[in-house]
Structures are given as C-alpha cells and as structure tokens.
Assembly symmetry: C2
Homo-oligomer: 263 residues x 2
C-alpha cells in the first residue's frame, strides 16, 4: 500500500510506531537501524518477537533452517502496513522517513550506494572468523580464518578505507565532514558503526590503520559525539560487541610490535 500521498497519509505515518524485530542482546545487523532511530530521536520498539514469523527447523545437522514465505532472516522492520527485511532495504526505507538521506535522486542513491559498500565490508568482517561455514564453530575453521583475516587486514580493509577517505576528501559540500551532500546521512552512521566494530575486532590493526585516515577518523569521533548518539552509547539500550558479527580473536588481529620483530 502506498503511503506517499496526501496530508492524511503523512499524519498517519508520523503516528505509526516503528518496530524492529531482531536478535536481542547483540548489536549485529540491527545496530545501524538502532543508530538511525536514535540519531533521529524517534521512538521505536526493539524486540525479539520474530519467532512467529520464522519457522526454525534444525533437522539438518549443523544448519538452522529458516523457512518463511516473506523473510529470509532478521532484522525485520514493521511500520504501519509495511513489513520489510534486509538491512540495506530497511535503511533505504528509513533514510527518507527519518530525513537521514537527501531527497534528490543522485543524493538518495549515492547514500544507498555507500551504505551497500559498507555492508559488504561488514559481511567480509564476519567472514574473517567464519570463512567456511556460518553454522560451524570458529574453532573448526580456524586455519582458514587465519588466512582470510590476514588478507582482510592487508588488502581488503585498506581498499575500502582508501575509497571512503577519498569520498570524504572529495565532498566539499560538507567540508569533508560527511559522505554525501551537506548533512549527516545514514551512510555516515554506518561508516561510524563499521569502524567501531573493526576497532573492537582488530584493536591493534585498527589503531595503526586509522592513523592513516584523517577524514574517516574525524567522522568517527564526530558521530560518536552527536548528542543523541552519545546519550544512546552511554545508555542500557546499547548492546556491547561480543560474539556476534564483530568478534575479537587475538590471533586474527595484527601481530603486536614484539611479535612482528621476531618474524
């Protein structure tokens, strides 16, 4: 159903509550959505009540089978009559509702583009600790994880960060503060989030790496200090990184200075 026309629809939309259905207790793929709500100062329900939507059937060894006729996996967003899943899809939808994206075509699709690229980096971060099979333990794929993490640190992260540093350097409209246009968008929130996750997962590597990216580093601090974001990060609503998408395994991080010397 289209909600895009007329005063009445607009009013109804403002009154419709936002409902996020996602695993509770972890940031995961729910976190960019939470950051968007928090930055916009919009109230939302954050619940794990998606079990009714997803029939979990773990008959196959090692595989949790999500079988549903509408959604492949959470996060799921409900808003009025609309119910959608897939993180970049939810963000595109919220970008216009929460005014966290420009309205013009080029701006709107540029924000979606950068968000998708950051989501790719996020997925690659996950695959450093699960390069073989998402449903198997890390310990059972550790050899491959060591190789993948090394390539990730040496080749993939620099490729992505070079790109986003260049985008910020190029964007004179915001004096290099934000990725697109003059104001903060949900792509900036995602850049903050991915850097935050990488700092948790690869602390030694990221400390050395971020020093090379002036614009990304200052965007990270700038988002962190936004009043609504700062209040959220200090609140109980914020879940700490633990053993979800972003994980810290000592051996996947860059070797420390001493180890490097010995090499």
């Amino acid at each position: 159903m289209s909600n895009t026309d007329g005063h009445k629809a607009k009013k109804a939309r403002t009154e419709d509550k936002y409902e996020l259905l996602y695993w509770q207790g972890i940031p995961g793929r729910g976190e960019p959505i939470r950051l968007a709500f928090e930055e916009a100062g919009v109230s939302y329900e954050d619940s794990g009540n998606f079990t009714k939507l997803l029939t979990r059937n773990a008959t196959k060894a090692g595989a949790a089978k999500l079988l549903n006729a509408t959604h492949f996996a959470p996060p799921i967003l409900r808003h009025g009559d609309v119910e959608i899943s897939q993180l970049p899809n939810i963000m595109f939808y919220l970008g216009s509702k929460l005014k966290l994206a420009p309205e013009d075509e080029q701006g709107k699709f540029s924000v979606n583009q950068y968000f998708l690229t950051l989501a790719d980096l996020q997925d690659e971060t996950h695959d450093t600790h699960h390069p073989i099979a998402v449903m198997k333990y890390y310990e059972d794929q550790k050899d491959a994880a060591l190789l993948r993490a090394e390539d990730f640190r040496e080749n993939r992260v620099p490729l992505y960060l070079d790109h986003f540093e260049a985008v910020l350097k190029h964007n004179k409209a915001s004096e290099h503060k934000w990725l697109v246009g003059e104001d903060l968008t949900y792509a900036d929130l995602m850049l903050f989030h991915v850097v935050d996750g990488l700092k948790f997962a690869f602390p030694r590597f990221m400390e050395a790496t971020l020093a090379k990216y002036e614009n990304i580093s200052s965007l990270y601090e700038r988002v962190k200090e936004r009043p609504h974001i700062a209040e959220y990060l200090a609140s109980k609503r914020r879940h700490k990184f633990s053993n979800g998408l972003y994980r810290h395994y000592e051996e996947l991080d860059a070797p420390d200075a001493e180890e490097k010397e010995e090499k």
Copy 2:
C-alpha cells in the same frame, strides 16, 4: 540533482540514454542489469569505459587497488545526470524507471528485499571458489574451497531455495508465477539469473536439487522463454559464463552417483 518533477524533466529522462560501465566479455555483476534492459526493450550502451573513473594502482602484491572518490567498483550506471554504482542500488533505480517493480511502497521494498537476498546468494556462490582471498588464484585456496563448496551445497543453497520456493507458493496474486505482486519484476529476473549461474557452476548438484523446487523451476523456464529474454540469450550480446563470478570446477560440484556409491 532531482529529476523527479515536471513534464520537461520526465521527457528529458525518457530521451536520456542508459550507459552501463562494466567489464566486457563476462556476465558477472553486469548481467542482472543487462537482463533488465533487455526485458524492458530499452536500448543501452554496454561499455568497459570505466577505466578513467577508476585509478588502478596495483602496487600492493596480489591486490588491485581501486581508488576513486565516487565508486568502489563497477558496475556503474549513467543515466542523464545520475551516475551510480553497486548492483542492488542500480536495480532499485532501474526498477522504477523500467517499470520492473510495483510503485506502491510495500511492493517496491519487497522487490528490493528479495533482490538483496539473491545478491547475497550470488556473493556466496563466488566465495565457494574464493573463500580466502579474492585476489589469489583458486588453486591457492582449493582446500578451503572444497570445504566451503560442500557447506554451500548442503546447507546454504537449500536454505535460500526453500525461502524462494515458499515466497512463490505464498504469492497467490501471480498464481505463484512471480515473487511479488501480479507481474514479473527485476527480482524474478535475478532469480532466473542466479539459478542459471548455479546450473553452470554446479550442474550435477543443481539437476538433483531443482527437481525439488517446482515453483522456482517453472519460474526459471518462464523467464527464459519471455520473447525479449529468449532473443537476448540467443544473441551475441549475451556473454557465456566462464571464469568470472560463476565458475565450474568439477571438484566443487556434488560427487556423481558412482563416486557417491564408492564413498
């Protein structure tokens, strides 16, 4: 710049040519875009002229460094004043321009949702032959590839196909023919494309597997026989699968019946 208002802008848009910038000679991530243009019967330029946009700097061993202030990687779409990259982003944009998606909010975002899930499956297909490092040879990561391909066949593909079979079964509006609403959308084109690529990469596995998915199998045949698509597939414009995203390595496919017996 916004092109959304007024007759003049609309007319200009219709006259603007579509330009796809992508690697030539392979289907890759350009193919869903080509299929959309072909199905819509819209003329488009298909060129590899993106080298000026991407500064290729291969100083790091084994890594091609794409450094650009606007795009991370092709495919790139140019249309009038708009220039965007990221496959799902381009498809969302084209979905409304080429009338390959519903106009209502739920429909439009459901199509994007299913496309994104299929793009995830496509990315996972790529990772079966490159589970460790995208820039290294397959031969140098074959051990991990064998493990990842096995998990992909046994767990991941069934998870995705179960989902899409359920979506088709659920969609009474199209009599189970298409994923969303009454008509073909670009998500249906993508389902065709991913199945087509999987059939190339894992022929034995897919022959046995597709037999279990009645609605997906008939959607695949239905898309293949669309007049514009059939004409395209028989034309020189269609690039064959070879050593791109979808690759056939005998050893990554399911063991054949005899081998299975011996096991």
